[in-house]
Symmetry: C2
Subunit: 107 residues, 2 copies
DNA sequence: TTGACGCGATACCTTTTGGTTTCATATATA
DNA sequence: TATATATGAAACCAAAAGGTATCGCGTCAA
């Protein structure tokens, strides 16, 4: 079973969500990501590790560099989770509609 | 500006996501929610507060009871956030398609 | 009115989290 | 080869998170 926990945990921090947004524009090395934040490279590296654990990014080695990129598949747990609740509301609306129609048929 | 932070923070804990799932089946008082978890009522109450802060649930008073229910609108930040990235991938696919067509027109 | 019930709030504790500093390792390059 | 660059990793720290126990307050019911 795919556990969604690492994914949601990764999304809980605003710095990590901002990193994802930036990676949506272009792939970046750790140093490049670090340049965009007011914290040490080590701290950014930790965030990238959490994002990687959550499956939200992939990392490929290029010489001595490590290039980080978004991983579209990693977003599936969030989409699935959201779909569950939206389906739930669709069903509620359907039930409400049925109830109203049934009520009218009683006229 | 609506800040999405409390929403994502609320979703980071598995107990809170499970509470949401249970509330999708039926509204519940704090005591009822607590019965479904192996922790004190005070701990569950804290989770419900975080969920409320994140706008994911609403609470209404019924006598001395407090009834918790899902708040569909509270899920919007997650949906919007996800849509941003899915739009990003759609655009990438479109760009790829255009590039291929352009390439073919060069034949 | 007097308990019992459902809840809110606070103090307290332990673990996790997000940050730092520092050092080691691998790769490019003069 | 020697040096600079890019990263990994570990020790450490303060603050936040998740839990407990406890007390107080409003509400229901005998």
């Amino acid at each position: 079973m795919i556990t969604e926990q690492p994914t949601f945990k990764a999304l809980a921090d605003p710095t990590r969500r901002e990193i994802l947004r930036q990676l949506s524009e272009t792939d970046m090395t750790i140093a490049q990501v670090s340049d965009n934040f007011d914290m040490t490279r080590a701290a950014v590296k930790k965030h990238l590790t959490v994002l990687n654990d959550g499956g939200l990014i992939t990392v490929r080695t290029r010489g001595r560099e490590r290039v980080n990129a978004l991983n579209p598949e990693g977003f599936a747990p969030v989409r699935d989770w959201l779909n569950f609740f939206e389906q739930f509301w669709d069903d509620r609306l359907t039930d409400l509609k049925s109830a109203i129609e049934k009520d009218h048929s009683d006229d």
